[in-house]
């Protein structure tokens, strides 16, 4: 049976470099490694043309090219006779290759060196398997994705309006439908130009409240490009990653920075944009200790789940806005005389409770707002709507994502076992619970 490009899917992950051989018009051969080959369709491949000049010149002078592709699971090698057809330097195919190149060159630590100029399209004439001197180890077999389970996960997300339940159901789907154990949901904070971890499963330290600057790494690139990006073999990068993390965790109170969670032995990572109506509001990020953990079908399923969650979050925000303003009951007096000292840093809206860093940005501003209202008129229950109105002038973006900021605040208070907690008491309403007498101070910077 003749081989098809479809049979070579594990060769297109950029894990093991491909090899390209060309010949000049006078028949002088040239050979080099090639970082990425993309399957365009059953008959064509595209090569990232960050070629050396000689390769590029040869291809134009002599369109016959020979490739070696390597299966990232088994090590099997394949010889391909291909012929140059055309070059693209713009459009969806170019964008796809540029993104994959960025991810795959990052995974070998060469992201600054490899810049895509254009992508070259080749027709594949012949594929031949190179004999192996040893029996190759078959790729680990994984069950196909259960469509009924995926449909069930989508329904579970769709049925929610509260941000916490939407995010929890998304992560639950990632865990149970696809079997990934380590996942994060990051929500956009446009005011501060970053992505904030708002949901987390599987990590020793949840990383809730940790941030990724816009445009940084896989997460930033996936958000900016609105495309899923993955790396499938981080064996060369993880050594650098292992040392980072615990130090940052310990210094949280000094730096007001929550350490980004890490899976020290991660071999594969994927970042899936969460987009609704064309706007990316979050990123689903997953790690695995397995090489090549994300197949094409896994990517597709994750995109479906992430898209559903983004839509549900959007609907949830709209539902919360629509809640009628309602006078909520006055608070019960604080239970005991113990003082709870809250410090607010205006410069970044970071908030400390009894010396422990809780959160910053809009989530911090929300906590201060509730505390100020509480101290002023004794209320302990608040509507999302009134918070939206109070902060809307300062942070216009809050109209789209107040729910997720409140969720982050609630979860950080829970995680830190703070003497102040925020609990949800109905759609669009929360209650402030304080285990003592509150004071709030503005910090001098």
């Amino acid at each position: 049976m003749s081989l098809r490009l479809f049979d070579l899917s594990a060769c297109f992950e950029g894990v093991i470099p491909s090899i390209i051989a060309t010949a000049s018009a006078d028949g002088t051969p040239n050979i080099s490694y090639l970082s990425h080959v993309v399957r365009v369709d059953d008959d064509h491949v595209a090569l990232s043309n960050q070629f050396f000049a000689k390769t590029a010149a040869n291809i134009r002078a002599n369109t016959q090219v020979t490739l070696i592709l390597v299966d990232g699971f088994t090590g099997d090698q394949f010889l391909l006779d291909i012929e140059f057809v055309r070059s693209v330097d713009i459009g969806p195919l170019f964008d796809k290759i540029a993104l994959q190149l960025k991810a795959s060159s990052a995974q070998v630590g060469m992201s600054e060196v490899m810049r895509l100029r254009s992508a070259d399209i080749f027709r594949v004439h012949r594929i031949e398997k190179v004999p192996s001197p040893v029996p190759t180890t078959p790729a680990p077999s994984r069950e196909p994705i259960s469509l009924p389970a995926l449909a069930e996960a989508i329904r579970a997300i769709e049925g929610q309006v509260e941000a916490d339940e939407i995010i929890d159901n998304l992560l639950c789907g990632v865990r149970h439908v696809l079997g990934y154990r380590h996942a994060l949901v990051l929500i956009r904070d446009g005011d501060r130009g970053c992505w904030v971890t708002t949901g987390s499963i599987g990590y020793e330290h949840s990383g809730l409240g940790s941030e990724i600057a816009s445009g940084d790494g896989l997460i930033g690139a996936a958000a900016a490009s609105r495309q899923t990006i993955k790396v499938n073999d981080m064996s060369r990068l993880r050594r650098f990653g292992e040392a980072i993390g615990t130090e940052a965790e310990m210094s949280e109170d000094a730096t007001r920075v929550v350490a980004f969670p890490r899976l020290p032995l991660a071999m594969s990572q994927i970042a899936v944009p969460m987009a609704a109506r064309g706007a990316v509001t979050g990123v689903l990020f997953i790690e695995s200790v397995e090489r090549l953990a994300f197949r094409e079908e896994d990517e597709a399923a994750l995109e479906i789940l992430a898209g559903q969650a983004a839509s549900a979050l959007r609907v949830g925000e709209q539902a919360a806005v629509a809640q009628a303003a309602q006078v909520l009951p006055a608070l019960r007096p604080a239970s005991d005389g113990r003082e709870i000292r809250v410090v607010h840093h205006r410069v970044d809206d970071s908030v400390f409770v009894d010396g422990t860093y809780i959160v910053k940005g809009v989530a911090g501003a929300l906590l201060c707002l509730m505390l100020q209202w509480h101290l002023k008129d004794g209320r302990d229950a608040f509507t999302n709507r009134e918070m939206r109105l109070a902060l809307g002038g300062r942070t216009p973006e809050i109209k789209d994502n107040l729910e997720t900021r409140l969720l982050l605040l609630r979860r950080r208070l829970e995680e830190k076992q703070a003497p102040i907690q925020i609990v949800r008491i109905g759609r669009g309403r929360v209650r402030l619970q304080a285990g003592g007498r509150l004071t709030i101070d503005a910090a001098r910077e």
């Binding site: 028949g27 040239n30 080099s32 020979t66 699971f73 090590g75 090698q77 010889l79 190759t136």
Partner: protein, 159 residues
Amino acid sequence: MAVRLDDKLLEFFKRPLMCIIAAASAAGRPSVGRGVGFDVLDDKETLDVVFSAWQWPRLEADIRQTGRIAATFVSPSDYVSFQLKGNATLQDTAARDLDHAERFIMAATEELASLGVPRSIIAPWLTAREARVARIAVREIYVQTPGPLAGMLAGARSQ
């Protein structure tokens, strides 16, 4: 004109390396394979490169037909790479060539494994089965390390 490997290149050739080879048929169709051993001859202008004709029969046929060859050597840990071009003739394989292959395969496997590549994946790439030796009279040497020097000539012009 022949090119002599300079001291920098001779040092480079002492490192654990991977090697890839290309030739071309008379019709200009490139062929390709992996080198699994090499030896720099005393004149420093000639290099013997071992490859498996069992894995790469087209490469053998093209070298025999046209003698045009290119071989790129890369250090996997830092991507430092050089490409040598020249004319090759196929030589009889001697015991010392097989020794070179054995040492090369062992060093390359250890190097790649230390970088996290599973040994089960490396094993299919490196074999000296039906070993052949291409003796290359080096005519050109190019830097092929990704970066600003890529494509520059390396080595020393012979007098």
